[in-house]
Symmetry: C3
Subunit: 667 residues, 3 copies
């Protein structure tokens, strides 16, 4: 990437009246240098079966090119036209809830040959139309692609073939999944029931894994088509999204980002996050770390919020803070969804940079300052590289596993809650990290690996983690890690399974705590924060030292948190769900023991520090104030220039950060 991209999604097709020239002038004023188009407008480009019309695409491409604004063109396959569903209702995904109904996007069976036929045709027609246009810098494949829980008979049939390929015999399948339970075993492939009604967690979770491969296949198939047309220098990307809780919360359950991103040149993501009083920057950082880690390179933020909804309209300063936070995590592009608010339909209150009046407004005015700074500082900030010493190992399989086997019958907590319990505390400690996964090979590049709830793991993966510790790595495992194999069969060995070896701890029993504290408040937190909840394992150290015991009349002898030297490394084991404050204490201890406790860790949220190395090989330090208060601190790094003010600061000099503001230092 040669420069920071500052962009918007732009839908000429949704405009209430023609105003392309006005929009472009306003974009230029705001420093917008890229727009993303077409990813949801199939029906405009193919209003009837086989009738094509790319007028709006061409008009926008020409006008943008004239204005010097680049364009990313999306394949318009994630929202199907009315004529297709009317002619071929079978393109709609059949799910656990039954047959689909036309209306929303993302409702089709991505394995339907009818859908694939039409999708290929519109992609080729579009590509033929645009392929030589000089405005185009890249292509986006589909949008926020997932499997939409497609589960109809055709998908069930594919799944049987997949199982046959994987297990060869029904006996092997029965044994791996324990299907004999409640007479679910299968003794002829023809007897395989639809997975839709299954109560067998192994069977159900395997189907989820299979559904994720459908996304991999679908995306790779589209990439191959687009590659036939794209010119050198044009990238192909996807817009991945995250577990959605009204905002981007955690690992996406319905896509494996690590496998799905393989065919792409660069990973794109959308990141939506709490705002106003609730803005912390955590989701920006988390989503960025995932995106950057998929290909271990810079990434694109293809969508983020401008003033969407009444609860996301940013306070003055926040839009700037957010934009530079993305860059500080390694984003080479920050783009808003979207330029203009939409006047009808569904996402009417998902407002863009422009309100419905399509005039300048305070948020747009703030964007103008971002555009100007991006332009000026682009050489310093583009292609920022990171070399993190800490990694978190995430697992789609464990996420699915924990969704089948919940912490307890009342709790709504899932895998991502535990992941975020850890991630958030690292963030607040100003520890930058990579996100790794079961296939990651370079474990030894990290000084500290944190392993939340690795409920589902092959022997091989656990052996590799053991070796990592044995050779000098530091690891922090939480409860439930190692419990089952890759087929979600609980291990018949001591728990916590194979990692017992490095953790030096065993357990046979686990409890749902009621009013249980950690004995003697080992992390010195408020009493109310010393409580454990939802899940606790009754740990018995073999070789481990005990960091915390339970304060409870019946379970007082058992350990709650332990640490164990093993080979050249060290493994911490957390046997219970703790408060954020206790988690922070545990992580701080682990960081110190791993000798990666640095200057940044002495400073805490709401001051957030992000680091990188730029194209010139210079260190960049961002200091963000994620609060409504003025924050004063001593500048902690070597003498350098603050890039926004172009002032120089010496180590120890007082710096003052206004509410929701930041500084950027080039060391």
């Amino acid at each position: 990437m040669k420069q920071l991209l500052y962009g918007v999604a732009y839908y000429d097709e949704y405009m209430p009246y023609g105003r392309l020239e006005t929009d472009i002038q306003m974009m230029k004023d705001a420093g917008i240098n890229v727009v993303r188009i077409a990813e949801s407008t199939w029906s405009t480009h193919e209003p009837q079966n086989g009738v094509f019309d790319f007028t709006s695409v061409n008009r926008v491409l020409d006008a943008m090119h004239k204005a010097g604004i680049s364009v990313i063109v999306g394949t318009p396959t994630y929202a199907v036209p009315t004529w297709m569903v009317k002619e071929h209702p079978e393109v709609l995904a059949v799910t656990k809830q039954g047959a689909g109904k036309y209306g929303a996007r993302q409702i089709m069976d991505i394995t339907s040959p009818t859908y694939l036929f039409y999708a290929e045709r519109i992609i080729r027609k579009l590509m033929e139309n645009v392929k030589d246009h000089p405005a185009i810098i890249g292509y986006q494949i589909d949008n926020e692609t997932k499997h939409y829980d497609t589960s109809g008979p055709n998908v069930q049939l594919q799944f049987v073939k997949y199982l046959k390929e994987k297990f060869k015999t029904t006996d092997a399948l029965n044994k791996a999944f324990g299907l004999s339970y409640w007479s679910n075993d299968v003794h002829a492939w023809e007897d395989m029931p639809s997975v839709v009604g299954t109560i067998n967690g192994s069977f159900g979770a395997e189907f989820s894994k299979f559904q994720r491969t459908l996304v991999d296949d679908f995306l790779a198939w589209q990439v191959e088509i687009v590659k036939e047309y794209r010119h050198e220098g044009q990238f192909i990307t996807q817009n991945f999204d995250f577990e959605w809780r009204g905002y981007s919360f955690g690992v996406q359950p319905n896509v494996n980002h690590f496998t799905a991103s393989k065919p792409f040149d660069i990973t794109g993501v959308d990141i939506y996050h709490p705002s106003q009083e609730d803005l912390t920057g955590i989701e920006i950082s988390f989503g960025g770390d995932v995106a950057r880690s998929t290909k271990q390179q810079n990434y694109l933020v293809l969508e983020t919020e401008a003033q969407a909804f009444s609860h996301w309209t940013p306070f003055p300063g926040q839009l700037r803070l957010q934009a530079f936070s993305h860059v500080a995590s390694g984003a080479n592009m920050v783009a808003y969804w979207h330029w203009h608010s939409i006047h009808n339909s569904f996402e009417t209150y998902w407002k863009g940079l422009l309100s419905h009046d399509l005039k300048p407004n305070p948020v747009y005015n703030e964007a103008k300052t971002i555009g100007a700074d991006f332009k000026r500082l682009s050489p310093k900030l583009v292609n920022l590289k990171k070399k993190n010493k800490t990694a978190i190992l995430v697992s789609n399989e464990s996420l699915t596993g924990v969704s089948w086997f919940k912490f307890n019958q009342r709790s709504e907590l899932n895998y991502n809650d535990i992941l975020r319990l850890i991630y958030d505390e690292l963030y607040k400690l100003n520890v930058e990290c990579d996100i790794i996964h079961p296939e990651t090979e370079n474990l030894e590049d990290y000084s500290l690996i944190i392993v939340p709830c690795l409920y589902v793991a092959s022997d091989q993966l656990l052996d590799r983690l053991n070796q990592y510790v044995d050779k000098g790595g530091h690891a922090v495992f939480t409860f439930k890690s190692g419990f089952t194999d890759e087929n979600i069969k609980v291990r018949t060995t001591n728990q916590p399974g194979i990692i017992e070896k490095v953790c030096g701890v065993q357990y046979q029993m686990f409890i749902e705590p009621k009013r249980v504290q950690l004995a003697e408040n080992p992390y010195g937190v408020d009493e109310s924060k010393n409580e454990v909840h939802t899940w606790m394992e009754l740990l018995t150290p073999t070789t481990a030292e005990t960091f915390a015991k339970y304060d409870h009349p019946a379970w007082g002898e058992y350990a709650a948190i332990t640490g164990n030297e093993c080979g050249d490394g060290y493994a911490t084991y957390i046997g219970c769900i703790v408060s954020s404050e206790v988690m922070s204490g545990i992580l701080a201890q682990a960081l110190k023991r791993a000798s990666i406790w640095e200057t940044e860790q002495e400073i805490r949220f709401p001051i957030i520090i992000k680091s990188g190395v730029n194209d010139e090989g210079r260190k960049i330090k961002f200091i963000f104030n994620y609060s409504a208060d003025i924050e004063m601190m001593r500048y902690p790094f070597e003498e350098s220039e603050e890039l926004l003010s172009e002032k120089h600061y010496k180590q120890g000099e007082t710096i003052t950060l206004n509410p929701w503001s930041f500084m950027i230092f080039e060391l």
Copy 2:
């Protein structure tokens, strides 16, 4: 109407044993002078397809006539017999939830020709049977008619024809509704998807509007049939009901009462309301104001509660209070649902005047006093006329619009909550009002018009409201008014759309407030009541004066509530959801500015004053005590006679109101 009607619904068909003579004697003792029959008993009158039996109707008509009790006969079409559904399952409405199941009432497709065929036949047979009976004073068409969300393929087809008629071309439709969003546009009428799955709010809301016209058509069709038989002097009415929250809460979403009431001679309604400690009279007043306003004349309360359910059994005095409250709002009839409690089935605990033992009881005994007073005071209280200076403009279209585009993602508040926030405070201020609607022509008859959440409005309607103010009217608009046009397309002008002109205020941004107060507590309320919630617009006055700003670090410069002189009138704009107490303050201010602050407004809930002019041209003042306490006050009007006690009171004399009691003064 020549006298106050005091009535009950009576179901000879549901009686556990024959006791018609006993019932009639008990009715006579209680002063019951009208019964309503037959509206739910189709299967008794047509036990088999084409076999008719009106024995029970005739028996009741004869016996009532002999006893001097009038009868309202209902067409029995709102509950279909088993044989019909067994023969023709297609008469059941297909809804978003799929095909219907037999059991409840109100489950049929009111457009089904099969249903209409049978409905017409039973109506004609019934009418032929009863038409000359002297006991009958009027007919009720069906009951609590709604569209039951009928949405099957036949209804979808009708809807396409309706759209074709309205928009002529698919292009016009696409543009009006913004269907290109997510590829929903239609380029051949044959491609129209069922609206059932739509995510397009314009499309979905238009279907709701279309469904409401089905109710208009169905009712008008029945009226035409009944008119062929009814004699001069017999009225035709409907029993409308309200948004149901376990009681009659607000504007009915599934019927447009103003259009649906047109073919009727007189509007009937049912009103059910909280009771016991929670009795306020608000629903009696609100439902009455809607009913009276539909045809700007007196109305019938065809159903209200006697001792339904365990939480509605009235405290001593409450049944009287309720009955006279209906009359004070302009009702010419108060009828209970129903005479006797039912011994089986579904509404067994929806108890009537008589408990299941069918004997006198305390509630029945209190009804006897009402019947006696109605009889004695009928000449003074029947046909009570009102001339209100305040009106509230309600809009079914805005109600639907706000249900598609909610205040925010968490809030359950809907249009009626805002309407009631206003209505309830007017009620407590003893301001009587009319309910007007977008088609109301006589706006200038009102000194003050309050416009809650007029989210959906044509240019023409907003222009008329502007003219109203310009010519001297006072208006109070709330947030979201003027935001979209009649197709729920957001206006591309400044907000609040066209009414910016009279309001002298603009906004581009809106927020979901967290702990935001009105700055400087402008209405002098408790601090906890000074908070705004759920929705706030960031207002910038152009010509308006600011009544309140927000107390917030980021939004402190914006106005929350404003007022603007415009032409000869004045417009208040409320930009946020406020507490009841603040709303009361805003409304009091508007009333005073409009010079309609009178004696009544000096007195507050739980003392409620209602006024009218009787057939003799005399002013009637009701003073109600809606509390469990004895209330003492100075009599505020000119010297007059209290009609219940026949005592005379002078202005300023102390009057004492027992708990849940009232006085009636003829001035």
Copy 3:
């Protein structure tokens, strides 16, 4: 029974690897003398249609026999194999939710001839295979059998025939159920709608009653088949379960335990209950009392919890406490579900005696002490007989009736909540009781009968209760008793119907109380416990004395709780839902008046005393400490030996009970 049985469910079929010999040795070590097998493993025994394989059954039978462990063999019919559903999808029950999906157990139509054909074949094949095996002491029929809400067209047709048989004419049916309401009446049997959509409580409840008879029929049919093979001395049992609220809470709505248990030799039940801090022993006692009462003899606890789930893992001592509590209620067998935790599928966290590591653990170790004590004390504790003076009358029909006609529109309370309100207080007062039902004949054997919410009752039943009182019995009736007849038609007489005669009290009105206390706190409880909630009847005594009135401005004159002498007996009537504390006071009063207040009642929960007479005719007294505290008390009985410690105690001597511990005295 010759000895106490201590058992586990054992599934060789679910084992992750072969370890039968190891398991048996560990069982022997723990004193396990019986295992239950095969009730859920149809697909292992018939892997394909008509292919049979009883290897696992035979292997386990042989090995157990060799080890001297008895076996109970279950018919494997409650979980159907995949091949059956693939070949014959119609075996799945069609319910209100529509067609079933394969996956869980208990999903079939127990009236399907296809299912019955295969069920009979597998039963006969299994029986032919095992019938002469010396290890077998008994058979279990199916498991936790219920009707699974089977409601498809075939079941509807059977139901119509059932109604025809019962009512002969549609007119009789219409009248009994009040079907004319909302035009639901039927004038030709062919017109009968499916009950699935009905709103008629009488019709709906009759269907539930009919569905319960399907369970009776299905179980009796299986018993007849098994009887053809079983040898003398082998028992046939069922494993009944209870209303499930995450644990065994109350009367099972979907089975009538009293009729369903008739064909069995001995009743078996499963009892799961709160544990850890929430362990009270109430469910053990309640489930035991129901089971013992079905056949008025000892019973089997075929399943109870070992360390299932994180919230049921017992504190040290609790497993022992639980086991002996079962015995103290009259159980001759205590068996865990199950031996080993399961490594896949659905109930993976429903852990057995062994954790997933299949090694000894603290819970298993505690079981060893139980096994040893059971063996030693078996002659003293087996076949314990009780002769209780108190009974509670329960009614499946009233349970269903109250589920149709709830206390009020917001309340989630059901029949079992009221039953448990009473049962729990009796338990805490150390009153042991029998559970009787409408068909119970020996009412006069009891000094006190408590009748909760007998909402549905024939005249004959109420007459019998009247006679019981008249002849000297004491009765306590609650609100709603007597309200409707056996068809859930509300009585047209005074309420509380026929029992007015013995209760000497009437009411016509009932209320949902808000902040209503009992006047003058008649039971001397904490003020907060003196409140009534959810339901109150406004009672007027005719001959009764008033125990409590309501403290309320409107209802202060009405009685809340009354007592009435009638003939030689006495009837208490409770007109409202009271707190546990007030209920305790009412029951204590009734016990004293009935002259059955004894030593045990002077001692209260958490000390629980259970009594019985053993085979030697000696009195046994158990004293349990259901608390985490050490409890000291004076030994209240005559001098005797404590069987665990073999120490002798004199009356008045201090005894000390450790947390969750107990003593057993032989008097």
